[in-house]
Symmetry: C2
Subunit: 253 residues, 2 copies
């Protein structure tokens, strides 16, 4: 997997498809005590069940049989199938994944896009990620957990944008510039004026749109087009925090 | 709904959210004979059932009870629930919807984006469109029908790009220009060199991505950002047919 080859192995406890979909590889190293091991075993069983049967077919019995954890423990700690799926997503978000750092915004965006393509065109790993996205259609708790997962994951990805601004690849919008003296720009404020969240989502969106909405295939060409479109939009200043806050006061986001 | 107000009413037999999701309003005028009326009644019942119970809970019995069409007829003509869902999607694609024509590419893209936001933030119409997208996770035939629906729908949307090129808003890429003498450019070839399909998908993708993958809200501000990003990418030549065909020979799309 392209992303993994660019990262020290120990920083990728899952399978590296962290902006692609939440589906850590079963058998991943599990730090922590018995509680953590139990939680990870349950998570693996949930993913296996979602992959095999989908959300409508997932049962507490299946998870008990495949995790070796007693049914009464599952009911006491996770309550029901919704609770099991939500916790599997919460756990997927607790890894130490960091976004690619290739030295250029274009390279970083390309690595992210490639990660999505690789993840979802490999049937062995695509199924559980797809199953999580599908589960969110049927369970409000799964949908909330998926939202939290992606918000946190894309917040990590904003580091790409901060680095690009520091390298001078993405000048802050003119109207934001006076507020950011160059010598005072910290990691957290370097990209003020740019909606970094929208920028990093932009490269994934066309790929997920084809995979799960229009059901069209994705490949390297589609990924490259997503990179080119995002870069062009970023250079043109289309992802401005001002635009984000301006038109719709009180908008939830 | 914004789009409907821009179109002659008779061209919108559904609810106008045709790039947003396939969910014609029950009670729509039904031209044609008894067979067409039966098919539309069955389609309405399928949408009602998907909205009420989701794909896993949809049954032929439900469709019979809500369409007034006998179960044996349903089994004979549609075979099973998958066949019913696929035909409801096929029927949604057989309307006479045409994309917005506001006089500018920016206005047209904004109308498309607004349509998605309006459709999926109105609970009364969002449910059946979401249910179709959800059904595609569980039925390969539903997924195929959804793919066909969107391919055809976005093919209609390519007219936006053709008009923009004719108005000079989007010059054809330099390397494509020699092949297109101005006086020979027809509707079908005016946008040669531009991947019109990618361009029109680009404005919808970030909205669907938030709605159905990251489960984040969409609003006018997010829509406006999608329009700005797509326009900037289009002006920068990011949606080139050359790019589409170049990098990955034999890529399925």
């Amino acid at each position: 997997m392209q992303l993994e080859s660019q990262l020290p192995e120990q920083t990728v406890p899952g399978n590296g498809r962290e902006c692609g979909g939440p589906a850590p590889t079963p058998g991943t190293r599990r730090p922590g005590g018995r509680t953590a091991r139990t939680r990870a075993a349950v998570r693996d069983a949930v993913l296996a069940g979602l992959t095999e049967h989908g959300y409508p077919g997932l049962t507490v019995e299946y998870v008990a049989a495949h995790s070796g954890v007693h049914k009464t423990t599952l009911y006491r700690r996770w309550k029901d199938v919704e609770g099991l799926v939500a916790d599997a997503l919460d756990l997927a978000g607790e890894d130490s994944w960091i976004p690619p750092d290739t030295g250029s915004l274009e390279g970083d965006l390309r690595a992210l896009a490639q990660e999505v393509v690789t993840s979802f065109t490999d049937p062995a790993v695509a199924a559980s990620g797809s199953a999580m996205i599908a589960a969110a259609f049927q369970s409000e708790r799964a949908a909330e957990a998926l939202r939290d997962y992606y918000i946190e994951r894309f917040a990590r990805c904003e580091a790409l944008v901060e680095r690009a601004v520091r390298r001078g690849e993405l000048p802050a919008p003119p109207d934001a510039a006076p507020e950011i003296p160059a010598d005072a720009a910290s990691d957290a404020t370097a990209h003020r004026g740019i909606d970094a969240g929208a920028l990093v989502r932009s490269v994934s969106a066309p790929l997920f749109f084809r995979l799960f909405i229009t059901r069209e295939p994705v490949d390297d060409t589609v990924a490259e087009q997503a990179v080119a479109a995002t870069l062009a939009a970023a250079h043109a200043g289309a992802f401005t925090a001002a635009g984000k806050a301006g038109a719709s006061p009180g908008a939830a986001r």
